[in-house]
C-alpha cells in the first residue's frame, strides 16, 4: 500500500454563495480508483492492490480455524517500511474502500481501538518480524509475491496449544 497526498474537493454553501474549499488528505492508493494519478507518477499499477490484502485477511479471519480460536496473530508487512499486527478476533470491514479507511487510520495513529471496549485491534509493530514470533516457531512463507503486492507477505501464527 502506498500513502500519498491527494486533493479532494469539498463544496459548501455559505449564505447563498457557492464556496469551493480544497482539502488535502492522505489516502491508500488503489489501482482502480487512482489509475490516472499513478500513471502520471509513472508507477506500476500492479504494485498498488490493497484489495488483495483485504481478500487475504478476510480469508484468514472468516475461516473456521480462526473462529475456533486457533489463529494466534496476523502480521502484515508494508513495502515502505513498517509492519502491523491484526488481532484474530477483529471484524474487518467487508468492503475494500472501508478497509482502506481503517488502514489509513492505522497508519496515521499507529493503532486502531475498538469503539466501546477501547481494546487495541490493529497496531503498528517494529521490524523485524522475528521479534514477534514464538520461540519454537516454524515459519512457512506462503504469500510472498514481490512484484504482485506492495505488501511483502502475510504471516499468521497458529496458537501452539491446539497441537
Amino acid at each position: 500500500m502506498g500513502a500519498a497526498s491527494r486533493e479532494s474537493l469539498f463544496v459548501g454553501r455559505c449564505k447563498g454563495c457557492l464556496r469551493v474549499q480544497l482539502l488535502r488528505k492522505w489516502k491508500i492508493l488503489n489501482s482502480d480508483e487512482d489509475a490516472q494519478f499513478l500513471l502520471k507518477q509513472k508507477k506500476n499499477l500492479n504494485d498498488y492492490r490493497p484489495d488483495i490484502i483485504h481478500e487475504a485477511l478476510r480469508c484468514i479471519l472468516d475461516s473456521p480455524l480462526n473462529k475456533a480460536g486457533m489463529v494466534g496473530a496476523i502480521y502484515v508487512k508494508i513495502d515502505q517500511g513498517g509492519m502491523f499486527e491484526v488481532k484474530p478476533h477483529v471484524q474487518l470491514p467487508q468492503t475494500c474502500s472501508r478497509f482502506c479507511g481503517v488502514i489509513m487510520d492505522l497508519l496515521q495513529k499507529s493503532l486502531v481501538r475498538a469503539k466501546h471496549t477501547n481494546e487495541v485491534l490493529l497496531h503498528v509493530v517494529e521490524e523485524p518480524i522475528t521479534h514477534h514470533l514464538p520461540v519454537n516457531s516454524y515459519t512457512v512463507v506462503g504469500l510472498y509475491c514481490f512484484k504482485l503486492l506492495n505488501i511483502f507477505g502475510i504471516i499468521f501464527i497458529l496458537s501452539c496449544c491446539g497441537f
Partner: protein, 112 residues
C-alpha cells in the same frame, strides 16, 4: 458490468466468441440437471455432516446442486431443496462455504 447485464440481458466477450453472462428465466429448477440432488446449506440445520464424506457418499449418477445463501443472516427458503446440511460448527461466510465445497469436490475427484 452487473448493471450492463441487467440492461442488455447478456455480456458478450470482446472477441465475439459467444456470451459470457446471460439472464435466464425463473424458476431456477428449469435449469437444474434432470437427475440432480439439491443440497441446501445452513448453519441452523440439525444435520451436521463432514462435507468430504457427504460428497463421496453421493451417487455417481446423481448430479449435485448446492444452494448457498449469500447473506450471513437468515435462512434459505426454497422449496426445491431436497436436503439441508450444515458443514461446520461455526457460521461461515458465503466465500468460505464455497471454498469448502470446492475443496471437498476436488478431493473427491482426485484433482491435485
Amino acid at each position: 458490468m452487473k448493471a450492463e447485464l441487467l440492461q442488455k440481458f447478456s455480456i458478450k466477450s470482446k472477441g465475439g466468441h459467444g456470451k459470457l453472462l446471460r439472464l435466464i428465466q425463473n424458476p431456477v429448477t428449469d435449469h437444474s440437471p434432470i437427475n440432480s440432488c439439491k443440497v441446501g446449506l445452513s448453519f441452523s440445520s440439525q444435520k451436521t455432516v463432514q462435507l468430504r464424506d457427504y460428497v463421496s457418499d453421493a451417487n455417481c449418477n446423481e448430479n449435485l446442486v448446492f444452494v448457498v445463501g449469500a447473506m450471513a443472516h437468515g435462512k434459505i427458503d426454497a422449496d426445491y431443496i431436497d436436503d439441508l446440511i450444515s458443514v461446520s460448527g461455526y457460521p461461515l461466510s458465503a466465500g468460505t462455504c464455497l471454498r469448502r465445497i470446492c475443496i471437498a469436490l476436488e478431493r473427491n475427484l482426485k484433482i491435485q
